[in-house]
């Protein structure tokens, strides 16, 4: 009598699949609802003036131009400090090292850094860059703190990109008499550069959205001017949002500005990550080798 059992088994399958599908729907709907809500509240205050003007009247009017500029400065600074070290470290790990104690130690170090809470980086940045090195609360301190936080991500995405270059490419180059160094420079890196840039864009998307590492190292709630030097403090969108809902005297006037700033931050971060994720899928697919 196989009939009833197999019907039962299919019934179980249908029920189980229904549960999983429902879970997926709940998640997607909840996340879609958040995005929709944040955008619809934010779009009300979005205007050309909002993007291009500094804040006015104690944050209750005007735009967020200095915060947008500050966000980009911090993101670019973080990448400038983390990218060279991260890529070279990845080159070492994939191209030059042999498995051994040092390499596994470095990997443990990278993993540990990757799992460290952002507020711990903030504490470190304050104690080290701001105080010990005397850089003060500045663009430089914030960018270096964000760079430290981005380093493990840069290393792992660069490693991933370098590993996708097939061994045969390296063997062909080496067999033609090229040195290891030349092979890396002329064969491996050019084939991995797309993946590395993609990864850097993803890392930058994460860095510009971070708040905790910059609270004590770079950010200021209110300034009308742009930083004149790397030693000036800056406004940044994430901190601006936080400040608008926790400080100031007119919460009801500040909340809409917070939503507007959140929308701009979301657009910046999602376009950076969207671009990165899209390209990563594209590169993975296009690969013919």
């Amino acid at each position: 009598m196989p009939e009833p059992t197999s019907t039962n088994r299919l019934k179980t399958q249908r029920r189980g699949f229904a549960v999983f599908t429902a879970a997926a729907l709940i998640i997607l709907l909840a996340l879609a609802a958040i995005i929709f809500f944040m955008s619809s509240r934010g779009i009300k205050v979005l205007s050309w003036e909002f993007i291009t003007q500094p804040p006015k009247k104690g944050m209750t009017e005007g735009g967020v131009f200095p915060a947008i500029v500050g966000t980009f400065l911090l993101g670019l600074g973080a990448m400038l400090s983390a990218l060279p070290i991260g890529v070279l470290a990845a080159v070492y790990l994939t191209e030059f090292s042999r498995p051994g104690r040092f390499v596994s130690l470095v990997r443990i170090g990278v993993n540990t850094l990757a799992g460290m809470p952002s507020i711990v980086f903030g504490l470190f940045g304050f104690a080290f860059f701001v105080k010990a090195l005397g850089l003060g609360v500045s663009v430089l301190s914030g960018a270096l703190t964000l760079g430290a936080m981005s380093l493990p991500i840069i290393i792992s995405v660069s490693e991933e990109a370098l590993k996708t270059v097939p061994m045969t490419f390296r063997e062909a180059s080496l067999s033609l008499g090229a040195t290891r160094w030349r092979t890396t420079l002329k064969v491996v890196l050019p084939n991995a550069v797309g993946g590395i840039i993609t990864g850097a864009i993803l890392a930058m998307g994460r860095a510009v959205g971070e708040t905790a590492p910059i609270i004590f190292t770079a950010a200021t709630f209110y300034t009308r001017r742009l930083p004149a030097s790397p030693f000036d403090e800056v406004m940044a969108l994430p901190f601006h949002i936080y400040g608008l809902v926790t400080e100031g005297l007119y919460p009801e006037k500040q909340l809409p500005i917070a939503f507007g700033s959140a929308l701009i931050l979301m657009i910046i971060v999602l376009s950076l990550s969207g671009f990165g994720i899209f390209w990563r899928y594209k590169i993975r697919k296009r690969r013919v080798w």
Partner: protein
């Protein structure tokens, strides 16, 4: 030559890790000259501006754990079920379209989730449960859970889809249904990878600052009620760092709780890496 200089650069991440550890503990150490380690670790009150001040870790630790556990109670079942949907139920095109979208949602900054929790969830909870204040452990946990879901989904789906095709085909060949294959073959085979992902997202959640800073409420108390405001470790550091004079016991105490957070996340990550490696070894 090139190899050695590159090796030194690769070693920089170790140097950075060492520098962070040293700075953290060096700034935490002076705190224990004035305050006993015992009173810190087992103290039940965090009153840094009282006279004499009380720096008890327990209420902060409790706040962190309560919020994180609530977040996980929400994010784990939904996230793992969604990963199972993508890995075993969804047609290929759905997975191709929605997996990147979920990953993309994982990159939304925590301050945006915090604003959502503060402006939407907290007033909602206040009204529905008639609370004195909407910012509480439950709302912070829910907001944090929403934020953790994309990570849980993404990591679990990676673990599920890395199960060898041969295992799945063998199961089908023995007459198992897709459901039986998914639950009795694929899921057990991916278990250590999923556990690693769960631990990683737990570590992320307990170290998350902005969301809890905006919605946890901020009362340093040990309470069993999820609807009471709490003050997690990250909240305390972020909220008090700007208000305390550099070099005061209060200043150093913030590094001490930072060091506690560091040790907790380090432990979780070591455990997660162990499971991740167990997953690779298979």
């Amino acid at each position: 030559m090139a190899k050695w200089s590159l090796g030194i650069i690769a070693g920089f991440s170790l140097f950075l890790l060492a520098a962070i550890t040293v700075m953290l503990f060096a700034e935490a150490f002076p705190f224990f000259r004035d305050y006993s380690l015992y009173d810190f670790l087992l103290g039940r009150y965090w009153r840094p501006v009282d006279e004499p001040p009380l720096f008890g870790l327990l209420p902060l630790l409790w706040g962190s754990l309560l919020v994180t556990v609530i977040a996980m109670l929400f994010a784990l079942p939904l996230g793992i079920c969604t990963a199972l949907y993508f890995a075993g139920v969804a047609p290929a095109w759905v997975r191709e379209v929605f997996k990147p979208i979920v990953e993309l949602l994982g990159s939304i900054p925590s301050v945006v989730y915090g604003l959502f929790g503060l402006a939407v969830l907290a007033p909602f909870a206040q009204k529905v449960f008639s609370l004195p204040i909407g910012q509480c452990a439950a709302v912070a946990g829910l907001t944090l859970g929403l934020m953790a879901v994309p990570i849980v989904v993404s990591v679990s789906e990676d673990a599920l889809s890395s199960v060898p095709k041969a295992l799945i085909e063998a199961s089908h060949a023995l007459g198992a249904t897709r459901w039986e294959t998914l639950m009795r073959v694929v899921f057990p085979a991916a278990k250590s990878g999923i556990i690693a992902g769960v631990l990683l997202s737990f570590g992320r959640a307990i170290g998350e600052t902005m969301t809890v800073l905006m919605v946890a409420g901020g009362a340093a108390q040990i309470t069993a009620s999820p609807f009471a405001p709490v003050r997690p470790i990250t909240f305390t550091i972020a909220a008090e760092m700007g208000e305390t004079p550099v070099g005061s016991p209060h200043y150093h105490s913030l590094f001490a709780i930072g060091a506690v957070l560091f040790v907790i996340t380090l432990g979780i990550n070591i455990l997660a890496n162990k499971y991740a490696r167990a997953n690779l070894d298979k």
